[in-house]
């Protein structure tokens, strides 16, 4: 079956000049094809991987007025990613868990389980966050209580400004622990 294997001997037919010319034309054609591929391909790859270079928005997002949150309560607060694309629709929304600890102190947890990102739920009576996917459980301070999560719930930066609670940035935190 080896007769099918590419046969290069035909390239050696002709005078030395012809062979040399043929070799040159072969290299020229392959080189030009590569150049064309690069001209089209580089912008194409750049376009596809562009979202990777989009910096997380540095904007502080308002979660609500200070008075809206009761001390000691953990509540889910919807957040809208102001930097999202116009056609994101409802997917521009996300939610975080906010806990008011005292008059001036707020903690904002990512709703993503640090195991694999599923949305943790707050169990009010038990003071626990529970994950529906693989059974991760966290205490009210976000530390791991049970299950596979490798680290505590991620806390966002919070600040209180003009009577409003604000957080930053609106990103899905990625656990990179192996």
């Amino acid at each position: 079956m080896n007769e099918n294997i590419a046969d290069h001997s035909s390239l050696d037919v002709g005078t030395p000049e012809e062979i040399s010319r043929r070799r040159f034309l072969e290299k020229l054609s392959i080189g030009l094809a590569g150049f064309c591929a690069a001209v089209v391909g580089i912008p194409l790859v750049g376009f596809i991987i562009a979202p990777l270079f989009r910096k997380p928005p540095a904007k502080w997002v308002t979660l609500g007025k200070v008075d809206e949150f009761q001390i000691g309560k953990t509540v889910s607060v919807p957040v809208v990613d102001s930097s999202s694309l116009p056609w994101a629709g409802i997917t521009a929304k996300s939610a975080v868990w906010l806990r008011r600890e005292n008059d001036s102190s707020f903690v904002v947890f990512s709703a993503n389980c640090t195991h694999l990102g599923c949305p943790v739920r707050w169990m009010d009576g038990a003071d626990l966050f529970m994950c529906p996917c693989h059974g991760g459980v966290y205490y009210k301070d976000g530390s791991v209580a049970a299950g596979p999560p490798p680290r505590p719930l991620v806390r966002y930066q919070v600040r209180v400004e003009n009577g409003e609670v604000k957080m930053n940035p609106v990103v899905v935190p990625i656990s990179t622990t192996l």
Binding site: T91, G117, P119, A126, L128, C133, G135, V172, I174
Partner: protein, 477 residues
């Protein structure tokens, strides 16, 4: 008239070369390649069903993060044949995964991957990977709540890859979070990139089948010797070979007809998987689960010890993939018959048992809390007031019931506590509840002492009922 048709056909065939194009269908194949050899064709037919139904669905599906869900609702509820087509695409995908698995098991057990068909196997392994990738990206195009959270899970999983993890995660999300870029990118991958690559690989795979011929069924005691195999194969074909079309292909046609009928009947009578809630990531009451073909992997991620989780999540698929790719390089000659390769039978059986067992576990997902647990009924509690009653209420309110079973009600994440009083004393229970341990949270800081007492009173009432022979003569009277 007949003569006219014949003239036109001959003219077209001469100018286009249709007969020449179809000639490979009549290639000579071993006559014993019978019913075991139908799975490859069945996979190809399932792929063609996917292409056809996918193209049709794309006529109405809008791959926009904000509108896809509405178009899916339209396709399912309003468009003529829409529900059927979605079903066709779903069961077609399932059939393709099953047929790829069967095809792979058959070629492995028959030793068909050995010389000279090593690259036929390797391209097939690549096609298995692309098929699973199509399955996952396809599930995401069913752009509901489960799909949106599955993207996050995929990104988090990719995030565990050393060095480039975060980069991969953001590539999957299409940015720092789910949004406008997420779905259209998956659409492009599912509809253009992966199928394009698959067309190429299927072409290559089929070309290799023609180039090296369909492997003859193995004979025990007749090992593959690369020095002599090709000559022996040629002689076999000369002696007893038959044209693939139609002498052998009729079995493929029958199996493919049955396959398409099954897919169509399932699509018609059972219908496509129901749409979940809309893909609103601010709704945190979500319970994302992969479709059945990846449910076993979902179960694996819940069951492996945390300390080796990252390695299992990342290294295992890589090593498994590499191993599958290089199997024919490691083992390209020798016996082909499964009866002389007991380890081959063991590998296939163990793989099926492992995937099956994990799949069953994934279906039940006992590691997940039961968020739907309702308060225990009066009949189960056995009291309407007092500490036992209060304890039962706390057992529900403090989320104990989400993880523990009482007489079949509740969750399965922790031990069944139906008869816990037979095993633990009052003090042991207090210690367990307050301090936690063994994968149970500590409730010391969220329960008042009297609440702990009420809970323990309830749990102390959870005893196995006394059987008549255990009861004292006094009680029997």
């Amino acid at each position: 008239m007949k003569q006219l048709f014949r003239t036109v056909w001959l003219w077209l065939d001469d100018r286009i070369g249709i007969s020449v194009l179809l000639k490979p269908m009549k290639h000579i194949a071993p006559q014993d390649a019978k019913w075991w050899y139908v799975f490859g064709t069945a996979t190809l037919i399932a792929f063609i069903v996917q292409v056809a139904s996918g193209v049709a669905l794309a006529f109405s599906f809008i791959p926009s993060s904000s509108q896809a869900y509405e178009t899916l609702v339209f396709i399912t509820n309003d468009a003529p044949f829409g529900s059927f087509l979605r079903g066709l695409h779903y069961y077609g995908a399932s059939a393709m995964v099953l047929m790829v698995g069967a095809h792979m098991a058959q070629t492995f057990l028959f030793g068909s991957y050995k010389f000279p068909r090593e690259m036929t196997w390797t391209t097939g392994v690549c096609l298995l990977g692309f098929t699973l990738a199509m399955g996952f990206t396809g599930q995401l195009l069913r752009w509901d709540q489960t799909a949106a959270w599955s993207v996050v899970v995929a990104a988090e999983q990719a995030g565990r890859v050393p060095l480039i993890g975060e980069w991969l995660a953001h590539f999957i999300l299409g940015g720092n979070t789910i949004g406008g870029a997420t779905l259209s990118r998956f659409f492009a991958i599912h509809v253009f990139v992966l199928p394009g690559i698959m067309f190429g690989f299927i072409g290559l795979h089929l070309w290799l089948v023609l180039r090296h011929g369909i492997s003859e069924p193995p004979t025990a005691g007749k090992p593959v010797n690369p020095e002599t195999y090709r000559k022996e194969y040629d002689e076999l074909l000369k002696k007893s070979g038959r044209p693939f079309w139609p002498d052998l292909a009729w079995r493929d046609v029958i199996v493919c007809t049955a396959l398409i009928l099954t897919i169509a009947l399932l699509a018609h009578f059972i219908g496509p998987p129901a749409l979940d809630k809309p893909p609103d990531p601010s709704v945190l009451d979500a319970d994302p689960r992969p479709d059945w073909y990846l449910l076993w992997y979902f179960a694996l991620l819940a069951l492996i010890p945390v300390s080796i989780e990252g390695y299992v999540m990342i290294l295992m698929p890589v090593l498994l993939g590499l191993l599958l790719l290089i199997i024919p390089v490691l083992n390209h000659k020798g016996e082909r018959a499964a009866s002389r390769r007991p380890w081959a039978i063991a590998v296939v059986c163990l793989s099926v048992i492992m995937i099956g067992a994990l799949w069953v576990q994934g279906q039940q997902s006992p590691w997940s809390p039961n968020f739907q647990a309702l308060p225990l009924s009066e009949k189960v509690v056995g009291a309407t007031s007092g500490p036992v009653f209060q304890g039962a209420q706390l057992f529900h309110d403090k989320a104990c019931l989400n993880c523990h079973l009482i007489q079949g009600y509740g969750g399965r994440r922790g031990p069944d506590l139906t008869h816990i009083a037979d095993k633990l004393t009052h003090d042991n229970m207090v210690i367990r509840i307050v301090n936690g341990g063994n994968n149970m949270p500590a409730f010391g800081s969220s329960l008042k002492p009297q609440e702990v007492e009420a809970l323990v009173a309830f749990l102390q009432s959870r005893k196995r009922p006394l059987r008549p022979q255990d009861q004292s003569p006094m009680a029997q009277n």
